[in-house]
């Protein structure tokens, strides 16, 4: 399945050269009012994600990492602060299909086959008219699912469902891919394999990826940088640079550098 990962990337050159960051947050604060009072999910987040980079968001539960992703995707409006996606308001970026979102439980529509699920973004919100649209069959092949086009979600394993949902997120050709603990519910072997494959998708598409996880190894293996968030209120604890050679392959997780990095992340995480 790994060998199916070949296709030619179509990265607009203007974008690669552009200095406009993929995501920019300035003083982003999100508060929710509940019966028990006001909860500050995010407090004063400043963040700049360069185009084409891979940022892991790591933190304990309740640190607001999913909330941050939803603010960037225009699913939640920040209480205060400024968010920019490719230099535009998140709402504009969303309407222009610059954002792809991969949910924790894959969120496939059970009445649609794998191919029909990947086609969904082209059927709604004026998605068919976009010029960046990609061939859904090609994308299913990219995520290693050629031959499974007509299978319904209940016929697919958890890992395969998540592959379909990645293909669906890529079908509009987004510049930014937001992933909310996409492999959290998978077994470790499947997760490892998908981690490696995701990096290949990232390398071949040139998409910027924000990846939320609570796995230290996943965060360090995938990200060029790891943003550590502390909980209650959710705030930036540390931005850790991951200096691992690329392309990254699973055995690298056994190198001394990686073990040291994971150890550092763990120690910081314990104080979050």
């Amino acid at each position: 399945m790994l060998n199916t990962m070949s296709f030619s990337a179509q990265i607009p050159l203007s974008l690669a050269a552009s200095a406009v960051p993929a995501v920019e947050c300035q003083g982003v604060t999100v508060r929710f009012t509940t019966e028990r009072g006001t909860v500050t999910a995010l407090e004063n987040i400043d963040l700049t994600v360069p185009q084409g980079s891979f940022l892991s968001l790591l933190g304990p539960s309740g640190c607001g990492k999913s909330t941050l992703l939803r603010v960037v995707a225009d699913l939640i409006a920040p209480t205060s602060g400024i968010v920019r996606v490719n230099g535009e308001a998140p709402e504009v970026a969303r309407q222009n299909r610059e954002i792809g979102f991969v949910f924790q439980d894959a969120a496939l529509l059970p009445w649609r086959t794998a191919l029909e699920n990947v086609l969904l973004p082209l059927e709604v919100g004026g998605g068919a008219r976009r010029s960046n649209n990609r061939d859904p069959r090609e994308l299913l092949a990219l995520v290693g699912l050629s031959g499974w086009e007509d299978a319904y979600p209940h016929e697919l394993s958890g890992g395969m469902r998540q592959r379909v949902s990645i293909a669906r997120a890529l079908v509009s050709g987004p510049k930014l891919l937001l992933m909310d603990e996409p492999f959290g519910a998978l077994d470790e072997i499947t997760r490892d394999r998908l981690n490696e494959e995701l990096l290949q998708v990232w390398e071949s598409t040139g998409t910027t990826i924000l990846f939320v996880t609570h796995s230290i190894y996943e965060a360090a293996f995938l990200g060029q940088e790891v943003l550590l968030l502390a909980a209650r209120p959710g705030r930036v604890r540390e931005l850790v640079d991951v200096n691992l050679p690329s392309p990254r392959r699973l055995p690298q997780r056994e190198t001394a550098e990686f073990v040291e990095l994971a150890g550092h992340l763990r120690r910081v995480l314990e104080t979050c």
């Binding site: 699913l75 969303r94 009445w111 649609r112 969904l120 709604v124 499974w148 209940h154 394993s157 395969m160």
Partner: protein, 286 residues
């Protein structure tokens, strides 16, 4: 990674060589499945035949008077001899049941849609729906006959009222209980409210709707029959009353058989539609 459990009845899709080609093992599996399917079909037939035989035996052994309980053979012969009368009376009942079914479900679906988009509408009218539902059918019937006259209208109204409630409850739930992440997905895709309704909510509600429709199918026939008990001259309900007053129990039983058979056919048609339209769901439920 490529393991998937295939339940019987799932259309085979090309699984890209995910399964080993063990022909003999597969043949054994298929024949075992076929045996199970036949058992599922035959056992109810055997059970019903057994019960009818038991009924015949009890009537014969204890010498039960025909006006108290007829023998199965007497009922069978009435079914043949009076087939024309029985069918002529089935037509109005079936018409009322079908029209009531359509009307009741249609109104329920429309109101459920309104409930999903307006919490206020639900808070105002759901208790009213519950109250109407608590009125027994036999009490609703005279009220509706007084209101709507002695034609088909009150019977259709009763059948509709009886179908209405299960569909309202199920449909509201089906339209509302959408995977929240699927809703977020639709928002990320900038889908319009219309697209969210048709591509997400309606599709999501179909399994719920069909559960309700299966209940409604048999309930609507009951509603029409009960409606015919009051001042009606034709229909299965009228025939039941007539046969009872004349102590013509073979005709009474034959009438019930005709009414129940129609109900069962109606139910089967809905089940068949469900299997055809909701292949993904029935396969998942297996």
């Amino acid at each position: 990674m490529s393991q998937s459990t295939l339940s019987p009845g799932v259309t085979p899709v090309s699984f890209g060589g995910a399964f080993a080609n063990d022909e003999s093992e597969r043949a054994r599996f298929v024949s075992a499945q076929r045996r199970l399917a036949w058992r599922k079909r035959l056992l109810p037939v055997v059970a019903i035949a057994g019960l009818i035989a038991l009924w015949g035996a009890v009537v014969a052994i204890f010498d039960v008077q025909p006006f108290i309980a007829p023998s199965p053979w007497a009922v069978a012969s009435v079914l043949v001899e009076k087939a024309d009368i029985l069918l002529a009376n089935l037509v109005p009942t079936a018409t009322e049941a079908l029209l009531g079914f359509l009307l009741g479900n249609l109104v329920a679906i429309v109101i459920a849609t309104a409930f999903v988009y307006s919490k206020a509408a639900e808070e105002a009218f759901f208790p009213v729906a519950v109250m109407i539902n608590t009125i027994p059918v036999v009490a609703k019937a005279p009220i509706l006959v007084l209101l709507l006259g002695n034609g088909m209208e009150p019977k259709i109204a009763i059948a509709a009222l009886i179908c209405f409630f299960p569909t309202l409850v199920n449909m509201t739930r089906g339209l509302r209980d959408v995977n929240p992440q699927a809703l977020e997905l639709m928002k990320v895709l900038s889908a319009s409210p219309r697209e969210i309704f048709w591509k997400l909510r309606v599709r999501n509600s179909l399994p719920y709707l069909f559960s309700a429709l299966k209940i409604a199918a048999s309930m609507s026939v009951i509603g029409a029959i009960v409606g015919e008990w009051i001042g009606s001259t034709s229909g299965i309900g009228a025939l039941i009353i007539q046969a009872t007053y004349n102590f013509d129990s073979p005709l009474l039983y034959a009438t019930i058989v005709v009414g129940s058979t129609f109900s069962a056919v109606f139910f089967s048609v809905i089940s068949m539609l469900e299997r055809r339209l909701l292949k993904w769901n029935t396969a998942r439920a297996n």
